[in-house]
């Protein structure tokens, strides 16, 4: 299949803002047009080929190589296609995206999938802070789609999210699901403190014990049937979610009563 391959020659000195690296734009551009796309290196306007070697043209399948730690806004607001990054990537990866997939073989910066509406992001390494979160002042964070992080994540995962699924394979830090309004967060490796703080609705599932806020109340233990469906869906993403009664059950907590909210936190209790 026709592919566009970008290779970063050397790490930029200051931040490179490259929202033009997006399948929506590249699919209609010739190699020369892609090379000439404007990126911002600090305050200066530069061309993509000042930093990247560009192979291929007119494709919504983009492959990027190199340490893109200082390259931000990759795949911003994309609606289609595929972006694969071999190496680390900077902030705002796939922010506001509405479709397509992004895969990162490395670590990602903050605001992965910030306020995204649809699409899929898979980070094989660690993610930074505010995964799938709302930008400051916004009422809604992620509104749909899927984010899977195999490694650890920073604070405020899924802040104010409304819909969609976030899976954190490793450990998340504080304030997972802060002011969450819906959607599902799966924590395979547990989280630090204040999980589910101020949540209104939505579900946080943890496979490890959690230190909960005092404003959550225990309300039974069960094996919700919707988890079967979830489990199958997540299996396609390579995530194992236990649900069989033989394996154990989920303790349910509801809260946050400070709001007061109707969210739930399910903590897995394996059968002995």
């Amino acid at each position: 299949m026709n592919k566009i391959k970008l290779t970063l020659r050397e790490k930029p000195v200051v931040v490179l803002e490259a929202e033009v690296i997006s399948p929506d734009l590249f699919v209609e551009q010739s190699n020369e047009e892609i090379r000439a796309s404007v990126v911002y290196h600090g305050k200066r306007q530069k061309r993509i080929d000042d930093f990247f070697d560009v192979e291929g043209e007119r494709s919504d399948c983009i492959e990027i190589h190199g340490d893109l730690n200082r390259v931000r806004h990759v795949g911003r607001a994309m609606t289609r296609g595929e972006v694969t990054i071999h190496g680390d990537v900077g902030m705002h990866l796939g922010a506001l995206m509405k479709g397509g997939t992004i895969e990162v073989h490395g670590n990602a910066g903050d605001w992965v999938g910030g306020e995204m509406k649809k699409g899929k992001i898979h980070i094989h390494g660690d993610a930074g802070q505010q995964v799938g979160a709302a930008y400051r002042g916004s009422i809604l964070g992620m509104q749909g789609g899927t984010i899977v992080v195999d490694g650890n994540a920073g604070i405020e995962v899924g802040m104010r999210m409304r819909r969609g699924i976030i899976v954190i394979g490793g450990t998340a830090r504080d304030f997972v699901g802060l002011q969450m309004k819906g959607g599902t967060i799966l924590l395979c490796g547990g989280a630090e403190i204040r999980t589910g703080a101020w949540m209104q609705r939505g579900t946080i599932i943890s496979l490890k014990e959690l230190a909960l806020m005092p404003t959550f109340a225990e309300s039974g233990a069960y094996n919700p049937t919707f988890l079967n469906v979830y489990s199958q869906h997540l299996q396609a993403l390579g995530v194992q979610l236990p649900y069989a009664e033989a394996d154990g059950r989920y303790r349910r907590y509801s809260g946050d009563r400070g709001v007061p909210g109707k969210g739930e936190i399910l903590i897995w209790e394996p059968a002995v």
């Binding site: 930008y135 400051r136 002042g137 916004s138 009422i139």
Partner: protein, 467 residues
């Protein structure tokens, strides 16, 4: 208001020497209702900031194909000071989604939106042909702040009104019957705040808000006082302002803003003010009939009728346009109510001795009956008041809508068909609550409609800014 058509901006004679004192504008289509010029293509000559019959030399501007009309004046807006600045801090999500002005060698950067930054405010107003804006609420304590912001609003002329009607010292003086001292105090405040006039917001109500209460009735004493009522405060202030000979009359924001049934409060206030000049601010918000939110209807016709018969008054419409905005007003109690209604963010800022302000982002939706009625009422007021020289176009920026959306209102006023189109999206329950469908006036008739002069569409604004 300033005499019309005398000093084009930037051409004050003291700044200019030699040929720069002269300016010639050729080929434009001129509209000037005050002087009976209706769409004539003619040349205009300016010398030392005044129109003259002819000049020789100086700069010439070719205005062929452009419309030349008198400047727009916004009598009631909130563009500078602590409250709008608080609103800016509260709405970063709006700043991100609005237009951005990019810095150049000659212009500063800025952001438009619900609460535009100071530089953007100047560019946006100038782009619409406005040259004078009046910041309508300045607490005396933070007046230096307001003036610092005003200094950062480029191009347009600025003035401001100092808030008085909840000043504790003043209320105490009125309570004690010390009218003369109250008068001197008003004069001092106008001087200290470097204000152009006096604004009275919800007389007595804000003072009561400081205890979490409101002043609902005009004739009942204000919380903490025995004799002083909202009605007596407004009447005394109007008298004081007339006696001091301030050019702008009392700028009154009546009690009970936005509450169902407040039209009776407003009419009663207008009667209190008979014999004095008065400017009633954002009248739309004070024209609600009915007993509660469900029975809410608007009584623009009733107000307009009274208003038409009383030449001592001027008003601005406080029109509403559908969309997102942020409401800011010194009317704290109303804002707390709005916060409870919308459940969104709420900011409140009380300033000692005089005022407070509340800030709530909100949206007006055509599907919401109350909003729809407000939308219609604003337009009804502008259309039903006969003497167009006494009614100003305003949205009480940013409360009803942002000032840069004025061209939309002008289009609504000028075009009955467009109005009908917009009315089609209103909920059906609205039928018996508004009179707008029966009005087919189009403000094209040039004799009595200064607003017509601001006839520019959005696209033209962009061009003006680009120029």
């Amino acid at each position: 208001m300033r005499p019309r058509g005398c000093v084009p901006r930037g051409w004050q004679s003291e700044n200019l020497k030699g040929p720069d004192r002269m300016l010639r504008i050729t080929g434009g289509t001129v509209y000037d209702p005050a002087n009976g010029i209706n769409g004539e293509v003619r040349d205009l000559d300016v010398e030392d900031g005044k129109f003259v019959s002819s000049v020789t030399g100086g700069r010439t501007i070719d205005a062929t194909g452009l419309v030349i009309f008198p400047e727009g004046v916004d009598v009631h807006t909130h563009v500078a000071g602590g409250s709008i600045n608080f609103a800016r801090a509260m709405t970063p999500e709006d700043h991100r989604r609005t237009q951005a002005f990019i810095r150049s060698q000659t212009r500063r950067s800025g952001l438009g939106g619900m609460a535009p930054t100071t530089f953007a405010t100047g560019y946006l107003y100038a782009g619409m042909g406005f040259t004078t804006v009046n910041e309508a609420a300045v607490p005396v304590l933070s007046a230096p702040h307001t003036h610092e912001e005003i200094a950062d609003i480029p191009i347009v002329d600025k003035s401001c009104l100092v808030l008085m009607a909840n000043n504790e010292i003043m209320l105490d003086l009125l309570e004690a019957g010390e009218y003369e001292r109250a008068k001197r105090m008003v004069a001092w405040h106008v001087w200290a705040a470097k204000a152009y006039g006096v604004k009275a917001v919800n007389p007595g109500g804000v003072a009561a808000w400081k205890w979490g209460k409101d002043a609902k009735q005009r004739s009942e004493p204000v919380e903490g006082y025995k004799n002083t009522t909202p009605g007596s405060i407004a009447a005394s202030l109007a008298k004081i302002i007339d006696e001091l000979g301030l050019p702008h009359p009392i700028h009154l924001h009546c009690n009970n803003l936005g509450a169902p049934g407040n039209v009776s409060t407003t009419l009663e206030t207008m009667k209190h003010l008979e014999g004095h000049r008065a400017h009633l601010a954002h009248l739309q918000y004070h024209a609600c009939g009915g007993d509660d939110w469900h029975a809410m209807k608007f009584e623009a016709a009733q107000l307009a009728e009274y208003f038409n018969a009383h030449p001592n008054m001027t008003t601005d419409a406080g029109a509403v346009l559908f969309g997102d905005t942020v409401t800011i007003t010194a009317d704290g109690p109303w804002q707390h109510l709005l916060y409870k209604l919308t459940g969104r963010k709420w900011g409140n800022l009380d300033v000692e001795n005089e005022t407070g302000c509340g800030i709530v982002p909100s949206s007006y939706r055509p599907s919401n009956l109350v909003n729809a009625v407000q939308w219609a009422t604003g337009l009804e007021l502008l259309l039903l008041i006969d003497d167009a020289w006494r009614v100003f176009l305003s949205t009480d920026h940013p409360n009803g809508a942002c000032f840069w959306r004025y061209p939309e209102i002008i289009q609504l006023l000028m075009c009955a068909d467009y109005r009908k189109e917009c009315m089609a999206q209103l909920p059906p329950e609205i039928k018996n609550r508004i009179t707008l469908p029966e009005i087919d006036r189009e403000c094209m008739s040039f004799e009595n409609c200064p607003v017509e002069m601001e006839r520019i569409e959005r696209a033209e604004i962009q061009q003006c800014i680009a120029a």
